[in-house]
C-alpha cells in the first residue's frame, strides 16, 4: 500500500506537559543551580531557627567581633548579637514579604492590564490613567507614609510595597493583550464560541505569560529590596529581624565593621539573583515553542 507523502515524516513524540516543561527547565543549568540555591534558602528560612536556635536579639558576645572568631561564624553586630542567627531569622521575613508583595503586584497588575488591553476604549483610558497616577507617585515616599500612618505590621508593609509596584506588570500585561488580541487564533476562539472571560483567561493570558513571569520574578526581588529599604530607614517593626533591618541598624558602623552590612547585603543579592534566574528558566520551560521539536 502506498501512503501519501505527508505521512512519511517522523512524528515528534508527545509527553505529559510537566515532563516536557521539566526536561526543558533541566537544560538550563543556571536556572537549575538557582532553584537548588533557592530551595536551600527556603529550607534555611523555615528550619534554620530550629537547627541553630540562638536568639537573634540576645547579646551573645562583645560587639563587632569579626566573622569566625569565638565560634561565631559570621561575627556579631554593634549590640553583640549573633549575625548568623539574625540572617537565618531574617530570611523568613524577607522571603515572605517578597513573595506576598509580588503576588499582590501580579494580581493587581494582571487584572488591570488585562481589562485595559482587552476592552480598550473608555475602560482602557480610565485604568491606564489610574496606573499612571500610581506610576508618578514617589514610591518610597508613598510607602513610608502608608507605613507611618497605619503601623509597621507585616501585612501593612506588604500592602505598602504591592500598591506602589504593580504598575509595571499592568503595563506589560496591557501591551501583551493589545498585541495578542489581534492575532487570528484569538479570533478563531471567538468564532468557536468562547466568551470574553474565556478569551482573556484561557486564550490570551497563557500566551502573554512569558514576560509577565519574568517581570514577577523580578518583582519578588525588588520587593525584598524594597522591604530592605523600608527597614533601612527604620520604618519596619523593630521587633522583627529582616535582612534590610540588619543593614539599616548597622549602617553607622559601615566603615569600622563593614561585614555587618556586607553579609546581609550578600544574602539579599544571592536570593534576588536566584529568583531571577529561576524566573528566566521558567519562562523558557513554559514556552512550547522552545521545547524539543
Amino acid at each position: 500500500m502506498t501512503r501519501p507523502f505527508i505521512h512519511e515524516e517522523e512524528t515528534p513524540q508527545a509527553q505529559h506537559p510537566f515532563t516536557e516543561a521539566w526536561s526543558m527547565f533541566r537544560k538550563n543549568k543556571s536556572a537549575v543551580g538557582a532553584l537548588g540555591l533557592l530551595t536551600l534558602i527556603t529550607f534555611g528560612a523555615i528550619f534554620g531557627p530550629y537547627l541553630y536556635p540562638t536568639d537573634p536579639f540576645e547579646m551573645v558576645w562583645m560587639p563587632f567581633s569579626p566573622p569566625g572568631q569565638e565560634g561565631f561564624l559570621l561575627g556579631t553586630d554593634y549590640l553583640g548579637r549573633d549575625l548568623l542567627a539574625m540572617i537565618i531569622n531574617g530570611a523568613k521575613v524577607s522571603l515572605m514579604i517578597g513573595l506576598s508583595a509580588a503576588v499582590m503586584t501580579v494580581f493587581i497588575g494582571v487584572t488591570v492590564g488585562a481589562l485595559a488591553g482587552f476592552y480598550q476604549g473608555i475602560v482602557e483610558e480610565v485604568l491606564m490613567r489610574i496606573t499612571e497616577f500610581f506610576q508618578v507617585l514617589p514610591t518610597l515616599l508613598f510607602s513610608m507614609v502608608l507605613v507611618a500612618l497605619f503601623g509597621a505590621s507585616m501585612p501593612m508593609i506588604t500592602f505598602a510595597i504591592g500598591i506602589v509596584s504593580w504598575t509595571a506588570v499592568a503595563r506589560i500585561t496591557r501591551s501583551e493583550f493589545l498585541r495578542i488580541r489581534e492575532l487570528e487564533y484569538v479570533m478563531a476562539s471567538r468564532a468557536s464560541g468562547a466568551s470574553n472571560l474565556k478569551l482573556m483567561v484561557g486564550v490570551i493570558l497563557p500566551n502573554a505569560l512569558p514576560p509577565i513571569i519574568v517581570q514577577s520574578a523580578l518583582m519578588v526581588g525588588s520587593a525584598i529590596l524594597f522591604e530592605a529599604g523600608l527597614s533601612f530607614l527604620g520604618l519596619t517593626d523593630p521587633n522583627v529581624v529582616s535582612w534590610g533591618q540588619i543593614i539599616g541598624s548597622n549602617r553607622q558602623y559601615i566603615l569600622d565593621a563593614g561585614y555587618t552590612v556586607t553579609i546581609p547585603g550578600i544574602a539579599i543579592f544571592i536570593t534576588v539573583l536566584a529568583i531571577s534566574l529561576v524566573g528566566d528558566g521558567l519562562n523558557d520551560a513554559l514556552n512550547p515553542k522552545l521545547r524539543q521539536r
Binding site: 501519501p4 505527508i6 505521512h7 512524528t11 515528534p12 508527545a14 492575532l183 487570528e184 487564533y185 479570533m187 478563531a188 476562539s189 471567538r190 468564532a191 468557536s192 464560541g193 468562547a194 466568551s195 474565556k198 486564550v203 497563557p206 500566551n207 512550547p288 515553542k289 521545547r291 521539536r293
Partner: protein, 322 residues
C-alpha cells in the same frame, strides 16, 4: 436549491482619524452596500485585490467584525441582530477557516485541544463523545491519531491548515467561510487542501463562502463568483458565465492577468493593464469607483455611481456601459 445565506446591503465602516481639527471624524467604508446570496451546498467565491473589502465582508458575516448596516440572513434568521448567548449559539452554524495557518492556531494548545475547542465552548457533549468526534475529524482531514498530542509548531503549513479545517468542521456548521485558505501555502500543498475542501463539501453537504484573490483557485472551487472592488460588488455571476463572458472592465482585466501555460492561448490572450492606483477609500470619487483606472470610462462614469443590475440570467454587473 434554497438560499442558505442571504446578505443584503451589508456595510462595514471603520473610523479613521485624519489630521486637522480635533473632532474631524472620517469613515472608511471597507464594505459598502454589498448584497449576495449563497445556495445550500454550493460555493460562492468573493474575489478582489487587497483592500477590496472581501475579507472584511467575510468577517462581518461571521460576526467577527461589527457591521454598520444591512442584514445577514442565515436560513432566514438575521444573525446581525443576535447578541450574547444567542450569538454564541449561532456560531455553531457559521465557522471560519483562516488565511494564515501559522497564526490561527493557539501555540500553547495541542492539536487535539484546538480541534475540540468549539465543542468545549458550544456543545453539551460528554468528554468521551468529544474525543470520538475529534478522532473522526482527524481522520476526515487526513491527520493521524498520534498527531493529536502535538503542538502547532510541530506541524507543517499544510498540516496546520488541516487542523484549522478540522476545527471548523467540529460543530457541524451549515456555512463555512474560507478566508484565502490556501494563499499562505505552497502550490503542491494548495492542491491537497483544495481537494480536501471539495471532498468534505461533497461528503458533508457543506456550503462555502470562499474568499480568494487567485482566480485559478476560484475557478476550481466555486459555483458562483462575486468580484469586489473598493468595498463594492462590481460583478456577480455563476462561474461559467463570469469566466466566459466577463462584463465589467475590472473583471476583464483580472481575468486577462491569469497566467496560462498553453502557448497558443497565451499568444491570443491580450493583457488589459490597469493603470494608476485605487482611489482614497476615505474620500471616494463621486462616480464609479473604478472610473479613474478604467480603460473604457466615459463622462457619465465620473459623475454617476453605477448600480448592480441583473440581466435575464442573473448575471449582475455594476457598469454604465454594459
Amino acid at each position: 436549491m434554497s438560499d442558505l445565506l442571504k446578505v443584503e446591503n451589508l456595510s462595514v465602516r471603520f473610523e479613521v482619524k485624519r489630521g486637522g481639527g480635533w473632532n474631524k471624524k472620517c469613515y472608511l467604508y471597507a464594505v459598502d452596500d454589498v448584497s449576495f446570496t449563497v445556495k445550500k451546498g454550493e460555493t460562492l467565491a468573493i474575489v478582489g485585490e487587497s483592500g477590496s473589502g472581501k475579507t472584511t465582508a467575510a468577517l462581518a458575516v461571521a460576526r467577527l467584525v461589527k457591521a454598520h448596516s444591512g442584514t445577514v440572513a442565515l436560513a432566514g434568521e438575521n444573525i446581525l441582530q443576535k447578541e450574547a448567548e444567542d450569538l454564541r449559539q449561532t456560531r455553531q452554524k457559521v465557522q471560519f477557516i483562516f488565511q494564515d495557518p501559522y497564526s490561527s492556531l493557539n501555540p500553547r494548545k495541542r492539536a487535539e485541544a484546538i480541534v475540540r475547542e468549539p465543542l468545549d465552548s458550544l456543545s453539551q457533549k460528554t468528554e468521551v463523545e468529544k474525543a470520538k468526534i475529534v478522532d473522526e475529524l482527524f481522520e476526515a482531514v487526513g491527520l493521524r491519531p498520534e498527531q493529536q498530542r502535538l503542538f502547532p509548531h510541530q506541524f507543517s503549513g499544510g498540516q496546520r491548515q488541516r487542523i484549522g479545517i478540522a476545527r471548523a468542521l467540529a460543530t457541524q456548521p451549515e456555512l463555512i467561510i474560507c478566508d484565502e485558505p490556501v494563499s499562505a501555502l505552497d502550490v503542491a500543498v494548495q492542491a491537497q487542501i483544495l481537494n480536501l475542501l471539495r471532498k468534505l463539501q461533497k461528503n458533508f453537504g457543506l456550503t462555502y463562502l470562499f474568499i480568494s484573490h487567485d482566480l485559478g483557485v476560484v475557478q476550481h472551487m466555486s459555483d458562483s463568483i462575486a468580484v469586489m472592488y473598493m468595498g463594492r460588488v462590481v460583478e456577480h455571476a455563476d462561474r461559467l458565465s463570469l469566466f466566459q463572458t466577463p462584463r465589467h472592465p475590472y473583471t476583464q482585466a483580472l481575468l486577462s492577468a491569469v497566467p496560462t501555460v498553453d502557448r497558443a492561448k497565451r499568444a491570443q490572450q491580450k493583457r488589459i493593464l490597469i493603470p494608476g492606483d485605487p482611489p482614497d477609500p476615505v474620500n471616494l470619487p463621486l462616480g464609479c469607483r473604478f472610473a479613474n483606472r478604467c480603460p473604457v470610462a466615459e463622462a457619465i462614469c465620473q459623475t454617476v455611481e453605477p448600480e448592480l443590475k441583473s440581466d435575464a440570467n442573473g448575471h449582475r454587473t455594476a457598469c454604465h456601459l454594459v
